[in-house]
């Protein structure tokens, strides 16, 4: 296969279609988890930049201003980012962030990103704890997906969906928000399954229990297999 270096249109199309060019910003305060995520992403042919906090992520995205008011993302988005990311030449196709971090949480970072010029970049939140209320909050806050740690290669296969269909993704978010609003009846039955924070995760079939909240969400959606990729633990390995 020959690629004409000077053919910008062809190159742009290639960038859309080839994972090699997708750049992921990974945010996690744990060095071990950063190393793991970096390797998972590289093996899946993504480019990766790792940072260890929400503040560092915002700096990287050019969203830091001196008078940061965490309570009003609207004001910070109007006064921050001196120039659009595209002008900087910085391209970030996906942000993956841990939820529990000292200082700025993954949720806080999500809200900041969604209130900024980077709002169209999909954000995935990761957590070691399966807390239905937390998951709902993140999804309703605009997160594309909520992944349970520890992450596996199969989780990353699902990410392609967000990266290859950017327009479709914004429709998905709206539909999922609507479903979330109607989801109360379904969620209450999750309490029976997820009474305690489920921490264990193994490669055995019992891992499906950990993901039942996410399964439930997909079950409400009319076409789960088309609309949303499977979250975790369900891919046949």
């Amino acid at each position: 296969m020959e690629v004409m270096e000077s053919d910008h249109v062809h190159h742009a199309i290639e960038e859309q279609q080839e994972q090699q060019h997708f750049h992921v910003l990974a945010v996690d305060d744990s060095l071990i988890d950063r190393k793991l995520l970096e390797r998972l992403l590289k093996v899946s042919s993504y480019k990766v930049t790792c940072v260890d906090s929400g503040d560092e992520a915002l700096k990287y995205l050019g969203l830091v201003d001196d008078d940061v008011d965490k309570n009003s993302p609207a004001s910070s988005s109007s006064s921050s980012s001196p120039q659009s990311p595209a002008q900087d030449g910085l391209k970030v196709n996906l942000i993956m962030t841990d939820y529990c971090m000292p200082g700025m949480s993954g949720y806080d970072l999500l809200k900041r990103v969604k209130g900024s010029s980077w709002k169209d970049v999909p954000v995935v939140i990761m957590s070691s704890e399966n807390v239905p209320a937390r998951i709902s909050k993140c999804l309703e806050g605009g997160a594309e997906e909520f992944l349970l740690k520890p992450l596996q290669l199969s989780d990353l296969k699902n990410l392609e969906h967000y990266l290859l269909k950017p327009l479709h993704h914004s429709c998905q978010s709206n539909i999922i928000s609507d479903i979330a609003a109607e989801d109360d009846g379904v969620d209450s039955s999750d309490d029976n399954i997820n009474n305690d924070i489920i921490d264990s995760k193994s490669s055995s079939s019992s891992s499906n229990n950990n993901n039942s909240i996410i399964n439930k969400r997909k079950a409400v959606s009319p076409e789960p297999s088309e609309r949303r990729p499977r979250a975790k633990g369900l891919a046949v390995v």
């Binding site: 071990i32 190393k35 520890p150 596996q152 290669l153 921490d199 264990s200 490669s203």
Partner: protein
Amino acid sequence: MEVGQMQRQWLDYTKSLFLEGFLDGQFLQLQQLQDESNPDFVVEVVSLFFEDSEKLLNDLTSALGQQSVDFKRVDAHVHQLKGSSSSIGAQRVKNACIALRNYCEEQNIEGCIGCLQQVKHEYNMVKNKLENLFRLEQQIVAAGGSIPMTELGF
């Protein structure tokens, strides 16, 4: 010992670690991420885990030894240890951390101290086991063989 024997020993030892619950599927995931371009990935991540854990265990011992125990701080340390042990597949350490977190939530100092001993015990065991495993791997590689990871057959 010739390479084939060492490889069989490696396979048997690895399998036993899974069967005895020291390691879980996440460790397999780590091994899958290792290849010719990153031949030391597992050792690197596990070494980070050892460093991190030793510091956390010291911090925990110290935090639980205070006149007035700061349970939030203890919980934060346990959360971190639980996370890292889960990330590398150190199942028994992770489970011991979960138990310790429960005592922490109850603010039960005696329970915490006893449970911390259990965490340390599990940590030392898995550390020992993994060091044995890595030593075996070094011997295989030094003898010109390769680690038969694909033969684990899980």
